[in-house]
């Protein structure tokens, strides 16, 4: 046999044996006992690492839940994508009472698409909302409305946001939305909020954030909230859920009965509902825009 072959086999073999023994000894002496429950909890979690719970990924959340469980309290943990189902399973596994929360979804607070808020000038800078927001009021002249360059679309890991080519506004697909809040952080104008999905997945919201006075707001956008108080007056007889704050109507989601009266009452169509109001009101109350 060629001595070169022999020497290399021997040398490598001995190195391998020494290294193997060393590795074995080291792994034994420095062995870390992992809590087996962390793996179990992690398997129960959706595994999408969205960060909505406030922890770095699902494993981070699982570790935090186990630590909290050992301290005797897992209230305060909630996995928005997994919802009550996942949290129920986790609570049962750890022997706790499940804490129920209303499922949520992301909602866009602007209805001023290109049809309602016409573009006044062409913006030629980088097509990013955060850059455009830094420089100008936005092509429509509204300092509060959606810019439509799709920072939220890029931020969404679940393909839940699409830009509607007709209006130029992002559309949030509720079926895909896990309410992780990535779009909320991405929007430089804070136009996306996480709202409770509401009973039977029905909700009503004010799709405008324009804090200018009504006359200025309506000049730039036909769908702006002009703070005319109509919705407040009508709702005062029903649920007292609507109020005007900073020249914008705000609906208290906990009080709202989802009757949809204010949607029909709004003169500019700034209040939106995600359900059809036709049966309830007996007539087509929505002029335009009622559906998302």
């Amino acid at each position: 046999m060629n001595p070169v072959v022999l020497i290399s086999v021997l040398a490598l073999g001995i190195t391998a044996a020494v290294a193997g023994i060393a590795l074995y000894v080291i792994s034994r002496t420095f062995h870390v006992v992992e809590d087996a429950r962390v793996d179990e909890i992690e398997n129960l979690l959706p595994g999408i690492n969205c960060g909505a719970c406030g922890y770095p990924g699902c494993r981070g959340c699982a570790e935090a839940i186990i630590t909290a469980a050992d301290d005797g309290d897992i209230t305060g943990f909630f996995c928005p994508p997994g919802g009550n189902e996942v949290m129920g399973k986790i609570a049962r596994k750890l022997g706790y009472q499940a804490q129920r929360q209303m499922p949520t979804t992301a909602v866009l607070l602007c209805n001023g698409g290109m049809d309602k808020a016409p573009v006044k000038y062409r913006y030629r800078g980088p097509e990013k909302c955060f850059i455009s927001h830094e420089l100008f009021l936005g092509p429509a002249g509204c300092a509060y409305g959606c810019l439509g360059y799709g920072d939220c679309v890029q931020a969404c890991d679940f393909d839940a946001i699409k830009i509607d080519p007709k209006t130029g506004l992002p559309v949030i697909l509720e079926d895909h939305c896990v309410s992780c809040g990535a779009c909320v952080k991405a929007c430089p104008r804070n136009l996306i909020v996480i709202l409770p999905r509401g009973g039977q997945n029905q909700r009503v919201w004010v799709a405008c954030q324009n804090r200018e006075k009504g006359a200025i707001a309506i000049k730039n956008c036909k769908a702006a909230c002009i703070a005319c108080n109509k919705c407040v007056k009508i709702c005062d007889q029903i649920a007292q859920a609507v109020s005007i704050q900073n020249n914008v109507a705000v609906i208290d989601q906990e009080r709202c009965t989802r009757c949809g009266t204010c949607v029909g009452e709004c003169p500019t169509g700034a209040i939106l509902a995600n359900f059809s109001l036709f049966e309830e009101l007996g007539e087509p109350a929505l002029k335009d825009g009622g559906k998302q």
Binding site: K120, Y121, R124, G125, P126, K128, F130, I131, E134, L135, F136, L137, G141, A143
Partner: protein
Amino acid sequence: MRRDTFPLGGVHPPQRKYTADRPIIALDPPAEAVVFMNQHLGAPAQPLVQKGDQVRVGTLIGRSRGFISANIHSPVSGKVIKIEPRIDISGYRRTAVVIETQGDDWEDSVDLDDTPTRKISFTPDKIIKTIESLGVVGMGGAAFPSHIKYMLPENKKADTLIVNGVECEPYLTADHRLMLEKPDQIMQGIEVMKKAGRISYALVGIEANKPDAIDLLAEKAKFYPGTEIRSLRVKYPQGAEKQLIKALLNREIPGGGLPMDVGCIVNNIGTAYAIYQAVVHHRPLVDRVVTLAGSGLKNPGNYRVRVGTSVREMLNLAGDQMPPDTEKVIMGGPMTGKAILDLGMPVSKGTSGILFQNRRECSSGPSLNCIRCGRCIAVCPMGLRPYLLEKLCRMKNFQRAEQERVMDCIECGSCAYGCPSGIPLVEYIKYGKNRVLEIMKKRREK
């Protein structure tokens, strides 16, 4: 004569100074003047007039508020018809006083005579006070209130006054014309500034592409001891104060520092003239020379317009109209100026030029990926790494951006000018600078 320049980076954009031989034409006051209360850097002025008030040219209509702020004077005579928020050059609504012009009636205190006089009998404090009260700000573009530059802290001392006649931006010729037409007044203004800063030595930096101005001022400088005219090699951005100091004196301002840290006070040629007018003739800053440029214009040139004249009105007064193929209207120079959103935008104290570009001139292709050619690093006059800063700002890693000295960027646009991938580097870096500024402010408050 020595030809100096700053050593690091820089670019050579085509100069296109087509209006250099057009004399300054004084335009009539506009029919309506829109006077913003924040024409300067710092806190906006407090409006002093009310709707319906009669004002004359030079009436104080906005009082400075805070340390870094400036007074605003009425550029026309007539009636205040509105005080309302209007969209200004930044794109946001700011308080503006709208004045309807009736005649051209100046305040009695203003001396309209512009013949140069050689007598200055003011004390430095009196000069600074006059500059402050008459609202003189830097005319180069940033509109930094001028009087603050001369109010040095106790522990700082300036030994050199630098007068910036570089005008390195393409198209702009306003300062060039001013040097040719008002050399005596400018030299006189420099004397006033020297006195205000208690400085005995002044350096005027002019780029070599203005030989007539250099010769003329050098001729005049013979009669003004302590003032030297220096010809500089043509390179953008030589008009930036940090680069100019480096080119003239080979001194480097420390990061985050001011010219006074290296014993300099830097003022523009336009400011020298404005200071001369303010101190000698008691004339507040109500008008300025603006270069009107663009390939499609019939009457491009240099015009002396009142502050508050809208671009539309200025075109009318100049006997011109917007070229039909205009794609972009820029206020300021093409490298650092801002595009405006409608022609109602008024000229402010810091507007040095108005440029009309057609589609071909302002075409920017799609922004492609960075190919790491390093051209932006080669041209950055501040020695930064623009490609890295752009990425850090785009990805919102502001902590790292601050470490990479994003705040030292002077936003000259040299990096984006030469980028083969057409990346809008400056926009992202500007965004990052604003965010880092916020973070720094928060940290200071803690």
